[in-house]
């Protein structure tokens, strides 16, 4: 495995796109259920939990960018190889890929569940999965530019949905937020941990970094992306807390879609059906970016063809999606991914940080 990557200029992307790409991968299925998940822990102070998660996120991303900058033109696999040597690093990279693959499957299954609950209860899981996987394969065949491009175009086609929450905003009540900071710090902190599943995805930068043209802007735009995600997550959480009564919110599995339900337009009586279908456009960039990342990383680590990696991974995902169609399994998987994310997303950068600092210090001396 090469440690320094030489990416041809026509494959490179501008750092500005990081803003949308990282954000697009973070937004997805998590935010739909997030208000309830956090509320179960931190009650009316959920917004504080999200705030803490946001601050943590910024620290983590600063750390990741620092590490990447110190190792120059390489990705996580190259960094691991430099630190631990070829053999151990391969195993570690595999684990890393497997984590992303689990994330892929959990996003896939979660979206399929939305569809089955809101639109077509009888449509088989395998069938919806094959639709999504078809799109993913088609897009990933276009390479990194198509993967990044799809996240950008789909971002533009779906970002207007934040305006849909205007109607619930007018129905918010201030007393649902009171008393402020009444819950114990433990609750608030565990609420912040629960937020993790919704804000995972920034790890993409580990793999995307060598593809970026103007590396000096990486830090700026990735921080913007984190800020934007946190603002959106905060927005959804605050509106949900203010709109639902406390008991009510705990009962709603997906508060965001429930809030979409009350929206009435002159031509559409209910909007939730449409919004769940449109959510495909929010979810598909996640799947495409993850699909690209998994197949590319697999190529990097094993030396197989990216096409073959992609086919194998997607086939397994399809099989898994066909057989795992119970809500409990999906829940368990989602929880596992959230917990794994706390390690791979939030902790791993700090573990690698000493090596990066050592490299910098050594580099300065010589």
């Amino acid at each position: 495995m090469q440690s320094q990557l030489q990416i041809p200029i026509d494959k490179k992307i501008k750092a500005v796109y990081l803003f949308v790409v990282l954000h697009a991968l973070q937004m997805g299925v998590g935010v739909v259920g997030l208000p309830r998940v956090v509320y179960e822990e931190a009650k009316q102070d959920s917004w504080v939990s999200v705030l803490i998660a946001g601050i943590a996120l910024h620290i983590v991303i600063a750390c990741i960018v620092f590490i990447l900058n110190s190792y120059k033109n390489t990705d996580i696999h190259g960094i691991l190889a430099q630190i631990f040597g070829q053999k151990i690093s391969k195993v570690l990279s595999m684990v890393f890929i497997f984590y992303f693959y689990l994330m892929f499957i959990s996003i896939l299954l979660n979206y399929i569940e939305f569809v089955q609950v809101f639109i077509f209860p009888k449509l088989s899981t395998g069938f919806i999965a094959s639709l999504l996987i078809f799109l993913v394969i088609y897009a990933v065949y276009g390479g990194v530019r198509a993967a990044v491009g799809s996240s950008i175009v789909f971002f533009f086609t779906t970002i207007w949905m934040v305006l849909l929450l205007i109607e619930p905003i007018f129905l918010m009540r201030a007393e649902y937020f009171l008393p402020v900071l009444d819950n114990s710090p433990q609750d608030i902190f565990s609420g912040a941990l629960k937020t993790s599943y919704s804000i995972l995805g920034f790890e993409l930068i580990w793999v995307l970094y060598p593809f970026i043209q103007d590396k000096k802007n990486v830090a700026k735009y990735s921080h913007f992306a984190m800020l934007f995600t946190i603002i959106l997550v905060m927005y959804v959480t605050v509106v949900a807390i203010g709109y639902f009564s406390p008991k009510h919110l705990e009962m709603k599995v997906w508060p965001l879609f429930t809030m979409f339900k009350i929206i009435t337009l002159p031509i559409f009586e209910r909007f939730d059906v449409i919004s769940v279908a449109l959510w495909l456009m929010v979810v598909i960039p996640n799947l495409i970016l993850l699909g690209w990342m998994i197949s590319y990383s697999c190529k990097r680590v094993t030396g197989l063809k990216q096409k073959h990696c992609l086919h194998v991974f997607m086939l397994i995902a399809l099989i898994v999606a066909t057989f795992v169609d119970k809500r409990e399994y999906v829940n368990i998987l989602t929880d596992y991914v959230g917990q794994a994310g706390i390690f791979f997303g939030l902790t791993l950068p700090f573990l690698l940080l000493p090596f990066a600092i050592y490299k910098r210090v050594k580099g300065n001396k010589s």
Partner: protein, 498 residues
């Protein structure tokens, strides 16, 4: 063209021998090969030509008359005497035959080592007329014709600058056609020119047929339904695109020019947007995008809502919709497909029918059958409205090919909407978007300036701004010079009553 004769000097020979050889060996006994022998005191001269290919007026006034008037017949003296450019000396029978096919006259003086060919072709061409398929309300009405000379003339007239470069290609094995690559030297991107040149040079076909077929040969992705090169019959659009830094291709025998590279949004722009005032232009441009979106989604949404998602139909509409659909015996999917195909039939028949019958059939097809189909209870009248609107909307695209593409991709979307409701619609939309992202036109991204995102390009794509602010060319073509003209100096802001 393959060589059929030995490459050797044919001359000198007898005058009659030349004619018989040409007739037997090259033209295989064509009855239209005419000749005339001009006798003078010391020697004679034969002129050979194909009857229907030469300009008779020129033949008599400039060739025969001059030959008769010349006192001493020799190649040199004839060359001087005949007031026509492009007189050549040929040694081989095949070259002479080729020249004759291009509308030349062969003059041979007995005893000479070479024959002369004098090009006086008769060009049967339509004079430039009003544009038919891409008509403008406002602005230049002239359109290209089938003759490349006239087309080049029009282009040169519109852009009388020495920066206009024209490169010549001859493409086609059995039927060679002249193809010209036209661009502005100081604006067009080198890489684009190189790419286009190499694609044209590498093109090996028997016959290019037309400019819209040549685009299909050299396009980036020939499987896609979306056109990647813009085919237009409007010289003003052609020249405007050249000024934007794009390349133009003109093909002989074709009444339209090809513009490349293009992006998806440029198919919804018309030069008319520039001729009207900026606010009108911006409004109309946005209208076209809305129309395209409506054209793609309206019928599928109807099908999806009535098949699966009754709950999204507002109460007030539900009653009238239910009433009008109560007598319809088909499921919404079939109902919509029948009507859509019906509309396509009217369009296709309208295009094929002779103009005199066309209008009558339009009325019979459109109004009478439309009315009857509702009264017979085959479709609901709401669907008629929706289908008619989406058909109408698809015709707003200033590019005919793009309009057709939009009309056709609607069919699979309708079927998917009938099968999986809104999920089907969103799935097909997502598929189209990914497809567009992957598309390229002359190696430039097709979906620019959406991706790669270029917010500064908004005045060249989605809307239009006053020229005061919109003084730049489109970034997506990567022109050499981005500025069209310097920004005018700002006017001093004065107080109300000064």
């Amino acid at each position: 063209m393959k060589r059929r004769f030995k490459k050797s000097n044919y001359f000198p020979c007898k005058m009659d021998q030349l004619k018989t050889d040409l007739k037997e060996q090259y033209f295989k006994g064509s009855p239209d090969l005419s000749s005339k022998i001009i006798e003078q005191q010391n020697n004679g001269c034969i002129i050979i030509f194909l009857d229907y290919l030469v300009d008779k007026q020129h033949l008599f006034d400039k060739v025969i008359k001059e030959l008769q008037d010349t006192s001493e017949l020799s190649n040199e003296s004839i060359k001087e005497a005949i007031p026509i450019s492009g007189v050549k000396e040929e040694k081989e029978l095949e070259n002479i035959g080729d020249e004759l096919l291009d509308g030349g006259v062969c003059a041979y003086i007995e005893g000479e080592q070479q024959a002369l060919t004098i090009p006086i072709p008769r060009v049967e061409a339509r004079q430039p007329e009003r544009a038919e398929t891409e008509s403008l309300v406002f602005g230049p009405q002239i359109s290209f014709t089938e003759s490349i000379d006239i087309n080049l003339n029009i282009v040169h007239k519109r852009m009388n600058t020495d920066k206009l470069k024209v490169e010549k290609f001859v493409i086609g094995d059995t039927v060679p056609s002249e193809v010209r690559l036209v661009y502005l030297e100081d604006i067009a991107n080198e890489d684009n020119v190189k790419e286009m040149r190499s694609r044209l040079e590498q093109l090996k076909v028997d016959d290019v047929l037309e400019s819209s077929t040549i685009t299909q040969y050299i396009e980036d992705n020939s499987y896609s339904i979306f056109p990647q090169f813009l085919v237009t019959e409007l010289p003003d659009r052609f020249c405007y695109s050249l000024k934007e830094g794009r390349l133009g291709v003109l093909v002989d025998k074709s009444p339209s020019g090809v513009i490349a590279p293009t992006n998806f949004l440029s198919y919804f722009q018309s030069t008319e947007d520039l001729y009207t005032r900026w606010n009108m232009g911006a409004f109309i441009r946005v209208m076209r995008f809305v129309a395209m979106f409506a054209s793609i989604t309206l019928t599928p949404v109807y099908v999806a809502a009535l098949t699966f998602h009754y709950e999204i139909i507002p109460e007030a509409m539900l009653v009238s919709l239910g009433h009008s659909r109560s007598r319809v015996p088909f499921p919404p999917l079939l109902e919509a497909l029948i009507l859509e195909i019906f509309i396509e039939l009217i369009r296709e028949a309208g295009a094929r029918l002779p103009t005199k019958v066309g209008q009558t059939m339009g009325i019979v097809g459109g109004i009478v059958i439309g009315q009857a189909i509702v009264e017979a209870g085959f479709t609901s009248n709401i669907l008629i409205i929706i289908v008619a609107i989406s058909a109408l909307a698809s015709f707003t695209a200033p590019s005919y090919l793009m309009g057709s593409a939009i009309r056709i991709i609607r069919f699979p979307i309708i079927v998917l909407a009938g099968l999986w409701g809104f999920l089907g619609i969103v799935f097909s939309m997502a598929f189209i978007i990914i497809h567009l992202i992957k598309q390229k036109s002359l190696n430039r991204p097709y979906l620019a300036p959406i991706y790669p995102t270029q917010p500064k390009d908004i005045d060249n794509s989605v809307i239009r701004l006053p020229f005061l602010f919109s003084n730049k060319r489109s970034y997506s073509n990567k022109p050499k010079e981005i500025k069209r003209f310097p920004k005018p100096p700002k006017k001093k802001k004065s107080d109300i009553d000064e």
